[in-house]
C-alpha cells in the first residue's frame, strides 16, 4: 500500500530508499533505545518501502509506525534513520531522471516530512 500523508511513519528491519537527493546526516544517540542512529534526509521525489519486516513485528521507535512488508511512503522530503550506517548507493535509470537506490542494513525508520506539493494543494482546495 502507498501512503502519501505527511507524518506517516514506517519501520522495518530493512528499508528500500529511493530518491534523487540523499543526505546522510551526523549520527546521534536515540534516547529510547540508547543506540547510535544514522539519520538521513531524502529530497525530490522520495520513496521508502519496507523490504523486511521487524521481527518481532512490534514498533520500536514510534507507536504509530506502519510495519507491514511492501508498505510504501512517498513524499517530497522523507527523513528517518537506521541503526547501521548506509552503504553505497545504486544509481537507477527510471525514465528521464537518474535516481538513487539505497538499502538500509539495520532496523530503520522513515517518515514523510513534506508531502508532494500537488497533493497538498489538492487537499487545500477541498
Amino acid at each position: 500500500m502507498i501512503h502519501t500523508a505527511i507524518c506517516t511513519y514506517i519501520e522495518g528491519e530493512r528499508l528500500y530508499l529511493q530518491c534523487r537527493q540523499f543526505n546522510a546526516m551526523t549520527p546521534s544517540f536515540d534516547q529510547k533505545t540508547g543506540k547510535t542512529i544514522y539519520p538521513f534526509k531524502m529530497g525530490i521525489n522520495s520513496k521508502a518501502i519496507i523490504g523486511e519486516e521487524l521481527s518481532p513485528k512490534v514498533a520500536i521507535f514510534r507507536g504509530k509506525s506502519i510495519l507491514d512488508k511492501d508498505t510504501c511512503i512517498k513524499g517530497k522530503t522523507i527523513d528517518g534513520f537506521s541503526v547501521r550506517p548506509f552503504g553505497a548507493t545504486q544509481i537507477i535509470h527510471t525514465g528521464r531522471h537518474r535516481g538513487r537506490f539505497i538499502i538500509t542494513k539495520g532496523i530503520s525508520l522513515a517518515h514523510i516530512e513534506i508531502g508532494f506539493r500537488a497533493l497538498l494543494e489538492k487537499k487545500d482546495k477541498k
Partner: protein, 158 residues
C-alpha cells in the same frame, strides 16, 4: 573629560543613591535648547538588553557554524567509508565520536533560535536538520515550529 560622564562603576562599593544622566539638545542657530534627564540605571539597562540580544543571535549563529563544520568533517569520513577506504567497524567508531546526545531545550528558546536562523538565512530548514543543528530531539523542534505558527508573540526575540 570629567569622569562623571562615563558609565563606569564608581569606586565606592555601594552604588550612589542618586545617579542620573542629563542630555542637552537643540540647535546652535536658534539657541533653543532642551534638557532631558534619565536614570543611569535605565539607560544602562537599555544597552544591556541590546548587548544580550546581540549575544544571543551571535551564539545561535555560532551553533550553526559549528554544526556545519561537524557535518563537513563527518561527511569526509562517510565518503571514505563509501569509497571502501574505511571498513564499517572503523567507521562506526569514528561516527560515534560525532554522535550527539539530544539535549533538553526550552521550547520558547528553541522557537526563538529557529526564528533567528530563518530570518538570517531565508532557508526552509526541515525539523530533522534543525534538530541536527541545535543537537536536540526532532519532536521538540516540531513543537517549537508549531508554537511559532500558533503564536505571533513567540516571534519576538527575547
Amino acid at each position: 573629560m570629567n569622569n562623571d560622564w562615563t558609565l563606569e562603576k564608581p569606586d565606592t562599593p555601594t552604588p550612589p543613591s542618586l545617579d542620573y544622566l542629563i542630555r542637552v539638545y537643540g540647535s546652535s542657530e536658534d539657541k533653543d535648547m532642551g534638557i532631558s534627564i534619565t536614570e543611569t540605571v535605565k539607560f544602562k539597562k537599555h544597552f544591556d538588553n541590546v548587548y544580550d540580544r546581540f549575544n544571543f543571535v551571535k551564539n545561535t549563529l555560532v551553533e550553526v557554524i559549528l554544526s556545519q563544520r561537524r557535518s563537513l568533517e563527518y561527511n569526509g569520513f562517510y565518503n571514505a567509508f563509501l569509497m571502501g577506504q574505511l571498513p564499517e567497524n572503523r567507521f562506526v567508531k569514528i561516527a560515534k565520536r560525532f554522535a550527539y546526545r539530544p539535549r533538553p531545550i526550552n521550547n520558547k528558546l528553541l522557537s526563538i533560535k529557529i526564528n533567528i536562523l530563518r530570518d538570517a538565512t531565508n532557508i526552509d530548514y526541515t525539523p530533522s536538520e534543525l534538530a541536527d543543528i541545535f543537537k536536540c530531539n526532532v519532536d521538540h523542534v516540531r513543537t517549537a515550529i508549531q508554537s511559532i505558527s500558533n503564536s505571533s508573540k513567540s516571534l519576538e526575540v527575547l
